[in-house]
Amino acid sequence: MSDSPAVTAHNPELRHHFADMAQQKDAASLGMWLFLVTEIMFFGGMFCAYLIYRLQHFNDFAAASQSLDITLGAINTAVLIGSSLTVVLAVNAAQRGKRKLLVFYLVATIVLGCTFLGIKAKEYTQKFEEHHVPGPTFHFIPTRMAGHPEQPPIDERHAEMFFSLYFVMTGMHAVHMIIGVGLFSVLTFQSWKGRYSAGYYTPIENAGLYWHFVDVVWIYLFPLLYLISLHG
């Protein structure tokens, strides 16, 4: 059944209040995009805070930023981009009605998503051990002081603020990843059961959009948090 051509009029997935499948699909995709716009603004609030504080406390932020692990960050970027690829291939498989391929790519996405989260967890643990987690145990000695004795002393509070923003931003991003992994798990199960076909795969497509969006957020987080302050 997965290969049956798109039936518009009597598709069992057609909801009562839509005229046809095309209208239903258009509505769903517009809805998804609007939701992504709300997500832009949601992350936007944090980007705004980060931007302003970085401009205000440039040195402290730079020093704190340099304690992040660029290698792990870069690997994670690659992992996430990879998962975006598997998602788009999953959508492609769904379009072509290839059930097994679809399931395969969905599982691959979940695996990559979990890898990302695993690496993130490792980074968090490192931060925890270095006492870079804001709170009473927070302690920060800039690493570069050794090479550059001329560097201004660091205001620890502002370094702490960098880590506050780091944790909130990557944390909210991770929450979105977790939600995404959950979503894909459900979709994998449903795909396995043969719910999606070339005639109806909107949920896969929309979950894909969501995942790509989360990827885009990371595409900005990575340079902003890890990269742009190396010479600060």
């Binding site: 095309a22 401009l55 900005y220």
Partner: protein, 95 residues
């Protein structure tokens, strides 16, 4: 409407470009270019984001205008938030 079975090869190509850009941005970060560093990093990030949005999210080609309007609206209001907030912080020290 979206009968756009873009080939698997095409997606893989985009993927490889994205990886290359990631490598570039990491590399560029280690060269001291002064104020250009953030500009380059954000420029590359925006290129990557565009690739994802246009090709992975199928905004190019398949989608209709409305989706593009929606995206532009999101970006516009984000810039508004950043811009007007900066209007305060940027001018606080003038006097």
């Amino acid at each position: 409407m979206s009968e756009h079975s873009t080939s698997v090869g095409f997606y893989v190509m985009i993927f490889i470009i994205l990886l290359l850009l990631t490598a570039t941005t990491v590399g560029a970060a280690f060269i001291n270019l002064g104020p250009l560093n953030p500009v380059i990093a954000l420029g590359i990030a925006t290129t990557k984001a565009l690739l994802v949005v246009l090709f992975f999210m199928h905004v190019k080609g398949a989608s209709e205008k409305m989706i593009q309007v929606v995206i532009m609206m999101g970006i516009f209001f984000l810039l508004l938030l950043l811009g007007l907030a900066l209007a305060d912080y940027g001018t606080r020290l003038w006097s």
